[in-house]
């Protein structure tokens, strides 16, 4: 459809960009290879995965670099084209708006780029940015410029389109239509390539230590590879069907990795729960994508669907229904309220997996999907023009619901899991209020600091062989200072302390909530987000306090302690693993012989932590706004993230032109009040938690004394009773009474009918045989014999041999016949 060359117009994407599809293929090959020969390699099996993901990471970095050049070139070309436009307008006085209409009328199916080829007579505005050198050069037809003052966008850049780099082959055929599979590389995909490969690489390295000696070491790395392949393929999906496919594949890897230690039932239960919950959402995904498929005139192509949504060629009803269906999928995959319940349970998997899948990459698939199909959501939910919509409501609920639950967890990973739920809520909420870039930026920063937190918790657990903060941790600061400091940095980023990464991204979301939207704007979500920030600060302080401060409450080494929650398992493996005493293990793991106090982890665990902590500090600088109080910030370093990764083209809501819903996509500006207040709220949260936990201030024990507080606490401990509803009532009901009733129906009614017919046939047969066959039919046969005999006896009497008698009969008969003859004739 859109060949790479055509899509690029005159701007040539680099070699790496055009061939980025090899990245997931390499990881898929790594999966196969690890499975095939991993067993033979033993503990070196991880090298296959590490080398592959390392290669992919380098590739992704290269792709990002080339993408930078590509964006630059596109902008450049746009500017030069604007120059062209100026010249042509000099010759031709026709109203350019008509040109545009004509172009659209000519080919309504024009793909993204052409749709964006708007030529607006703003040559004055274009003037300063025109590069005279290339003005006379190529005037690419697909890359056009709208030079405008940048009031809508607020950043003063020219409006230009960045053609996604696409490549595809035929996947399947139906009728005369051929459906394709391929890659679609635009800003967000490029960004995700970087994030996924980086986190995955770090997790690979971390895992070589963490799961060393595990009995399914190769399987573990094989699935890490497959997961990376699926996720990388997912972010580059060219069409919705491919999106569905890889979405599910990601889910399967999650299933396999959550259930990694499947010998214990809670683990396999958690795996099943994750998969089934995701399947529930997938119903929405399937239905939503099908609706879009038909609404867009039988195409799966993402760009085409989004473009048609933006031009208003798809009815609003279809978009609304489709986006609500897709929302269900987002809720399940990205752990949004009320389908979030699987995510905390998924902590049953090994910790690096939790970091990779359940914090940094897979769970953001839902967020990414919304971002990917933003044209649909934007127009379907009227994001730009309303002050409340389903996406934002779900996100807002999740922010608060998840944060609330994080307070009552005693398992460190569950705190982080609920924190993930809550942060995903931020992203979805941001998408819901129209702050697309903020959402993706938060996704970007969150990936680093949350992975850092998870790996940090893994590092701690590796030392104490438990995840229970209340029982087995405390005072860890003295044993593992390096882990502690990385953990603190990542926490600061999560809370949103200036200048850590989370500050910038969360602030942008809050600014979006206050500035975007219709007349009333999404103020309610600003409040939700602020309260969320407070809660985040408080529960993370609690978490740090319980883990790193106070007295070490750890059980004596080697004694396995179970969490109070339903997470009794992973520590067993940790304990068992370190006891394996294989050479590698012993080399770096001094405690193998020395069963003393916990100790700092080895380099393969710490280095990833350092890197992630470093990113947690600097990642936020990728998108520093230069508006509001920060307008002094040099433009070249401002909003780099937005500049690079935000799509520009007809498949994305336009910055200048109102779409069918009448709203214009906009960027929030930096607002010093919000920034300050959210920081203050964060500090307040820290302060409150500090007072409560460190100093023991406040009404402790209120849950016992006050009924209302007690009820609240109980609701939180029981996770709002959602698990009871899902597992107990719905799942239990379906596989219990309902299934049994069906089976009973099958056995007794349907089969009863069949058997009844069978038995009836047998009884009938017997009746037929005994009564009819034996008596009637056979009777008839026999009867005819008897009748013949009897008749014979009768006629025998007549046979007198007397001729005269015969003659008399003959005569009588003749007379009768003659009589009949006469009468009849």
């Amino acid at each position: 459809m859109f060949g790479a060359a055509e899509a690029a117009g005159a701007v040539e994407p680099g070699f790496l960009l055009e061939n980025a599809y090899v990245v997931p293929l390499v990881m898929a090959a790594s999966f196969v290879l690890t499975l095939a020969i991993g067993k033979r390699l033993g503990k070196h099996a991880s090298w296959i995965g590490i080398v592959s993901i390392g290669f992919c990471f380098l590739f992704a970095v290269g792709v990002n670099v080339q993408w930078y050049g590509y964006v630059h070139d596109s902008e450049h070309a746009a500017e030069s084209h604007a120059e062209d436009g100026e010249e042509s307008h000099g010759d031709d006085t026709e109203d350019p708006a008509e040109d545009e209409d004509a172009a659209r009328a000519e080919d309504p199916e024009l793909p993204a780029g052409d749709e964006g080829a708007l030529v607006v007579p703003a040559a004055e505005g274009a003037g300063p940015m025109v590069d005279g050198e290339s003005a006379s050069a190529r005037g690419p037809p697909t890359v056009a410029a709208v030079a405008e003052e940048g009031e809508g966008g607020g950043e003063g850049h020219a409006e230009y389109t960045i053609e996604p780099v696409t490549k595809s082959v035929t996947w399947w055929t139906n009728g005369t239509v051929e459906f394709e599979v391929g890659m679609l590389l635009d800003g967000m995909a490029v960004m995700m390539l970087f994030v996924v490969t980086l986190i995955s690489l770090l997790v690979h390295v971390f895992s070589t230590d963490y799961v060393a000696g595990d009995r399914r070491y190769t399987h573990y790395f094989a699935f890490l590879s497959l997961f990376s392949a699926a996720m990388l393929g997912f972010v580059m999906s060219q069409n919705t069907l491919q999106l569905i496919t890889l979405w599910e594949l990601v889910g399967v890897c999650s299933f396999a990795l959550i259930g990694h230690w499947w010998e214990e039932k809670p683990n396999s239960d958690a795996a099943l729960k994750a998969f089934l919950t995701n399947r529930v959402g997938d119903v929405g995904l399937l239905v939503g994508m099908i609706i879009l498929f038909f609404a867009a005139g039988q195409t799966f192509d993402i760009i085409e669907i989004n473009t048609l949504a933006n031009t208003g060629d798809i009815t609003h009803t279809a978009l609304l229904v489709a986006s609500l269906c897709l929302l269900a999928a987002v809720m399940s995959k990205s752990g949004q309220f009320i389908l979030h319940t699987w995510l905390p349970d998924a902590m049953a998997g090994p910790t690096p997996v939790s970091a990779l899948i359940h914090a940094a990459t897979m769970v953001v698939a839902g967020v990414y999907m919304v971002a990917r199909m933003y044209g649909v959501f934007w127009n379907g939910l009227v994001i730009g023009g309303s002050s409340i919509n389903a996406l934002a409501v779900v996100g807002g609920l999740t922010v608060l619901g998840g944060a609330g639950l994080a307070f009552v967890q005693s398992d460190i990973k569950k705190v982080l899991a609920y924190s993930t739920v809550s942060q995903l809520g931020y992203m979805v909420m941001a998408l819901g209020v129209g702050a697309w870039t903020a959402a993706l930026f938060h996704l970007f920063t969150h990936a680093f600091f949350k992975a850092g937190l998870f790996l940090g918790s893994g590092s701690v657990a590796h030392a104490v062989h438990s995840f229970d903060m209340k029982k087995d941790m405390g005072g860890m600061k003295q044993f593992m200072p390096k882990t502690f400091w990385t953990f603190v940095i990542c926490t600061a980023a999560l809370i949103g302390i200036f200048p850590f990464a989370g500050f910038w991204s969360k602030d942008e979301i809050l600014a979006g909530a206050s500035q975007l939207g219709g007349d009333g704007s999404y103020t309610a979500f600003l409040v939700v987000g602020s309260i969320g920030a407070l809660m985040t600060a408080a529960y993370m302080t609690r978490c740090i306090y319980l883990t790193f401060f106070g007295e070490f409450r750890g059980a004596h080494h080697g004694e396995v302690s179970h969490g109070t929650e339903d997470h009794p398992v992973e520590e067993d493996h940790l304990a068992a693993d370190s006891g394996h005493g294989d050479d590698l293990e012993a080399a770096h793991d001094p405690h193998a012989g020395d069963h003393g106090l916990p100790h700092e982890s080895g380099p393969r665990i710490l280095v990833p932590l350092y890197i992630l902590a470093g990113l947690a500090i600097v990642a936020g600088f990728a998108n520093i706004p230069n508006s509001g109080a920060l307008s002094w910030w040099p433009e070249d370093f401002a909003l780099v993230f937005e500049h690079l990764f935000e799509p520009r083209g007809g498949y994305f809501p336009s910055l200048t032109e109102a779409g069918p819903t009448g709203a214009v996509f906009a960027h929030p500006k930096f607002d010093i009040v919000i920034a300050l207040s959210s920081t203050l709220l964060g500090l307040l949260g820290i302060g409150l938690a500090y007072a409560w936990y460190f100093k023991g201030l406040g009404p402790h024990g209120i849950t016992q004394r006050n009924r209302l507080a007690g009820v609240g606490h109980r609701i939180l401990v029981n996770k709002y009773y959602f698990d009871h509803l899902y597992t107990g009532i719905i799942a239990g009901g379906v596989k219990g009474p309902v299934a049994r009733a069906t089976n009973w129906f099958n056995k007794h009614i349907l089969d009863g009918v069949v058997d009844g017919v069978g038995k009836g046939a047998v009884v009938g047969g017997r009746f037929v045989y005994e009564t009819i066959d034996q008596k009637v039919v056979d009777g008839a046969v026999n009867g005819s014999g008897y009748a013949a005999e009897g008749g014979g006896q009768v006629f025998r009497i007549m046979q007198t041999g007397k001729v005269q008698q015969y003659g008399a009969i003959l005569f009588a008969a003749t007379v009768v016949l003659a009589g009949i003859f006469i009468v009849v004739i």
């Binding site: 396999s268 099943l272 069906t742």
Partner: protein, 513 residues
């Protein structure tokens, strides 16, 4: 015209019978001879088949190729017409693949009371019947082949089956025969309604269009065919023979039953019922679709209640064939293509699952789910394969099962012109919910059989070993195909598409309002 063009199909169909004839010459106790002979026969058949399929013109899948039209039964104007198009090719390929694999699997998995001669002969006779059904282009010939498969299967279940084989085999036989009888009536009705001159499917379809047959008559005639095919599929509520037959049948029988025999029904719908009586099909479609989605949910719920692994898999067939029938009931090219893909995918996947069930039974001597467990510990490869197949069976994208389900669901959103759109959209949602249930019962099965630890009674059982040679030989092609077709479905869609488009446009033309 060479031999393959003229006689390839005939040779392929009757080669297994020739093999049976040769096997008859050897005494009963020459086990190995029989095994070799049977395998050779199936391979020769496959070779002829491959020669035919290689010669097949894949750019013209819409028209009948390798046509063979001979006199046969002149009294009733029935002719010996063979021919294949894109609809037959996938199913023939499936049959040609499954039979040798089943025979290879039989090598050391003989069910009691042994007797390879009889057992393998029956499989070969079945082979002829199945191939014949897929190539016959004359209703009477079709019917004959359709019925030929009944008897060997009856004996396989009845002689080599489980403890309740008598009941199961008789139920299977009578139930299907009952449907066939109604189907035959419909065939005869068609024959007489169109002037009593031909049984050729193609000609009948043309004649029915040319004539003005009363609507009610058409509906009734279609109803007869529906009964015949629906019982074979089987559709809810005519499915109850299936769990019994599957559960009691020997592994080989279950595999063939699941992989090929069930497809005779759906194939019949697409090959016979829809093209010949498109208008009646349109009137019946909402009902068929309704039964199909009931079957999807019902089969899934039935699965959840099963305690026996094999019976569970059998029930899952009801649900899966529901998707196929839903695809057919939409009367669109999407739906019909999905149905063809679904047939092949279900054949591969459920065939595989039955193979696994058979192997589990051989090792554990039970299929009771609660006694199993820890398969991944005691036989890791077997456990992995089971996992792979459950994933495929629950319709995971990227594996074959998905391509039978998704386009069917897709098609239900926009069924053919003239069908009630809202109703079918309701069906779509129900069918989509069915995928959740499918994941539920399959993963629950997997959790209970493969995860966890080995139950005490089997901990040191020397009988429990991992996948062995014949099993690898029999399974590898199936597993590979599940993956290949899943990743690159066009291999199959491209083949079936031509003839499916023909059928769909025939229907559209006939019902074109």
């Amino acid at each position: 015209m060479d031999f393959i063009q003229d006689w390839g199909l005939t040779a392929m169909v009757f080669a297994p019978l020739a093999g049976v004839a040769i096997m008859m010459l050897f005494p009963k106790d020459a086990d190995d001879t029989h095994k070799v002979l049977a395998l050779l026969t199936s391979l020769v058949t496959a070779a002829i088949g491959i020669a035919v399929l290689a010669d097949f013109d894949y750019d013209d899948t819409g028209s009948l190729q390798f046509l063979r039209d001979n006199e046969w039964i002149n009294v009733i104007n029935s002719r010996f017409i063979l021919g294949i198009d894109g609809l037959s090719v996938p199913l023939i390929a499936l049959t040609l693949l499954i039979t040798p694999l089943v025979i290879a699997y039989s090598w050391n998995h003989f069910p009691e009371p042994h007797n390879p001669k009889a057992f393998l002969s029956l499989i070969l006779v079945l082979h002829t019947g199945m191939l014949g059904t897929f190539v016959a282009q004359d209703l009477i010939l079709f019917f004959v082949f359709f019925e030929v498969v009944l008897l060997p299967m009856y004996f396989m279940i009845g002689v080599w089956g489980g403890p309740e084989r008598q009941y199961a085999s008789i139920k299977f036989f009578l139930y299907t025969l009952f449907g066939s009888a109604l189907m035959l009536l419909s065939f005869l009705a068609l024959f007489f309604l169109t002037g009593g001159e031909t049984f050729s499917m193609v000609e009948l379809a043309e004649r029915v269009q040319g004539m003005d047959i009363a609507r009610t008559t058409q509906l009734i005639v279609f109803g007869g065919m529906f009964m015949g095919f629906a019982i074979k599929v089987p559709m809810f509520p005519f499915h109850t023979w299936l769990p019994d037959a599957h559960t009691q049948a020997p592994t080989q029988g279950s595999v063939i039953l699941a992989a090929v025999l069930l497809k005779l029904g759906t194939y019949g719908f697409i090959r016979v019922a829809l093209p010949i009586l498109p208008e009646a099909a349109q009137s019946w479609a909402p009902w068929i679709g309704g039964l199909a989605v009931i079957g999807i949910i019902y089969g899934a719920l039935g699965c959840l209640a099963q305690t026996d692994m094999k019976r569970l898999i059998a029930f899952s067939s009801v649900a899966h064939m529901g998707y196929t029938m839903l695809g057919i009931s939409t009367l669109t090219d999407f739906g019909l293509n999905a149905a063809v893909f679904g047939m092949v995918a279900h054949g591969l996947i459920t065939g595989m699952l039955f193979f696994i069930a058979g192997s589990v039974k051989e090792r554990y001597h039970t299929l009771e789910i609660k006694r199993l467990g820890g398969l991944l510990v005691s036989a890791p490869r077997l456990g992995w394969i089971l996992g792979f197949c459950t994933m495929a069976s629950l319709g995971l994208p990227g594996l074959a099962g998905f391509w039978g389900e998704f386009p069917a669901i897709l098609a239900a959103y926009q069924p053919a012109e003239g069908l009630p759109v809202e109703l079918f959209r309701g069906y779509m949602v129900v069918a989509a919910i069915g995928t959740v249930l499918a994941a539920g019962y399959l993963l629950w099965l997997y959790q209970r059989t493969a995860f966890g630890t080995v139950k005490d009674e089997f901990v040191d059982d020397p009988n429990i070993h991992d996948v062995n040679g014949p099993e690898w030989i029999a399974w590898t092609p199936l597993l590979a195909l599940i993956l290949i077709l899943g990743v690159y479905p066009n291999l199959l869609f491209k083949v079936s598409d031509g003839s499916i488009v023909n059928v769909a446009s025939q229907i559209a033309a006939a019902t074109g309002n």
